[in-house]
C-alpha cells in the first residue's frame, strides 16, 4: 500500500458475503432472515452490447438495462458491519460478480434441488476465482428430498467444498450457514488447497 497505514487505523470496518443462486431459490428471503434492515435494492446499469457494467462511455443513446441486487446489513461489532449481497446466478451477470466478489469473505451458493442446473454457473465462477464458497440446499418445507451426498454428487462438488442444508426463512439456520462459510474461508486461508487437491 502506498499510504503506510497502521493496522489500528486501517482495520477493515466492513465486509461482505455473497449469496448466489438461481431465480426464485430464496436469496432475498435468506438475506432478510438475518438482516437488521429490510433488504435494500441497488441497481447496476448494463449495456446490451458489451454487458459491461456502467461502461456507457458517453454513448448516451445506447440501450441499457438494469440489473437489481438485494442486500442486507448485520452490525457485528461497534467497528464491524457485514453486508450480504444476493446476486442472480445466470452467467450473463458474471460481469457484476467480479465487483461483488472482490474483497468478499466468501460465497454461499443457494441451491433448489428441483433446479440444480441453476447452480452450475455460480459454482464454476467461484471455483475459477478461488473465492471460498459453500453450498447450501434450501429446504423450504422441512422435508429433505435428496441427501446432501446425492446433491454433492449431482453437482460434481469437489470433496473439500462444504455442503449443508438451510432454511432460508429461519434466522438461526441462516446464521449457521454464515458461520460455516466464514469458518471455511478461514480454513482455506490458513491451509490453502494444494495444487494437486482433487
Amino acid at each position: 500500500m502506498d499510504y503506510a497505514p497502521t493496522s489500528a487505523t486501517r482495520r477493515a470496518a466492513s465486509t461482505k458475503i455473497v449469496v448466489a443462486g438461481g431465480f426464485g431459490v430464496g436469496k432475498t428471503t435468506l438475506v432478510g432472515s438475518v438482516s437488521e434492515i429490510v433488504p435494500l435494492r441497488t441497481e447496476a446499469l448494463v449495456t446490451n452490447e458489451s454487458e459491461g457494467v456502467d461502461d456507457l462511455d458517453a454513448v448516451p443513446t445506447k440501450a441499457t438495462t438494469t440489473v437489481a441486487m438485494d442486500f442486507g446489513r448485520l452490525t457485528l461489532a461497534e467497528d464491524l458491519v457485514l453486508y450480504l449481497f444476493g446476486t442472480p446466478g445466470q452467467r450473463r451477470f458474471w460481469f457484476m460478480w467480479d465487483d461483488l466478489c472482490l474483497g468478499a469473505i466468501g460465497a454461499i451458493v443457494l441451491v433448489d434441488t428441483n433446479r440444480l442446473d441453476d447452480s452450475f454457473s455460480p459454482l464454476d465462477y467461484f471455483e475459477s476465482k478461488g473465492l471460498p464458497f459453500i453450498v447450501a440446499v434450501n429446504e423450504f418445507d422441512g422435508t429433505q428430498r435428496y441427501s446432501l451426498e446425492e446433491v454433492a454428487n449431482a453437482l460434481a462438488l469437489p470433496p473439500h467444498v462444504p455442503i449443508i442444508s438451510v432454511d432460508a426463512r429461519d434466522r438461526a439456520s441462516v446464521k449457521q450457514a454464515l458461520v460455516r462459510v466464514t469458518e471455511y474461508a478461514l480454513e482455506r486461508l490458513i491451509q490453502p488447497l494444494s495444487v494437486n487437491a482433487n
Partner: protein, 124 residues
C-alpha cells in the same frame, strides 16, 4: 411455487430503455477513488458546500456511516453513478472511506477480519 419465490422475483432485467444516467456526472462513468460496494463512508465534520449539485448534496446527506451500496439504494441512483459522485466528495475531502479488505491486504489482515466476523456472527 415456494414461499421464497414471493421475495425473489427481483432477478429481472428490465426491458431495454434509453437513458442518460450519467448526465449528472457530466458524462463520467468511472471514479478515481476505489469504492467497494460494502465500504463505509464518513462525512467529515463541518463544511457548507453551496457549490455541490443537488444529486451530490443528496448523496452527501445520505452517506454518513453507510456503505456505497446503501447510498445507491437510498438515493435511488445506479451504483456506478453513486460511485462517481462519492468519488468527487472523497477527492474534495468532504467524505472519508473506511478500510475494507482489498487485493493488497495481507494474510494477517484477512485472518484478523475473518476472526472478528466469526466472533460477531456467533453472538449475533
Amino acid at each position: 411455487m415456494d414461499p421464497g419465490d414471493l421475495f425473489d422475483n427481483h432477478d429481472y432485467v428490465a426491458p431495454a430503455r434509453y437513458v442518460r444516467p450519467y448526465t449528472i456526472t457530466a458524462g463520467r462513468t468511472r471514479s478515481k477513488v476505489d469504492l467497494p460496494m460494502e465500504a463505509t463512508l464518513r462525512r467529515r465534520p463541518g463544511g457548507f458546500h453551496p457549490d455541490l449539485n443537488p444529486a451530490a448534496l443528496r448523496v452527501l446527506a445520505t452517506c454518513d456511516a453507510r456503505s456505497v451500496a446503501e447510498v445507491s439504494a437510498l438515493v435511488s441512483m445506479p451504483i456506478g453513478v453513486v460511485r462517481v459522485l462519492l468519488g468527487d466528495l472523497v477527492e474534495q475531502g468532504i467524505v472519508h472511506v473506511e478500510a475494507t479488505i482489498t487485493e493488497s491486504s495481507s494474510k494477517d489482515e484477512r485472518i484478523d477480519l475473518i476472526e472478528r466476523t466469526l466472533r460477531g456472527l456467533r453472538t449475533y
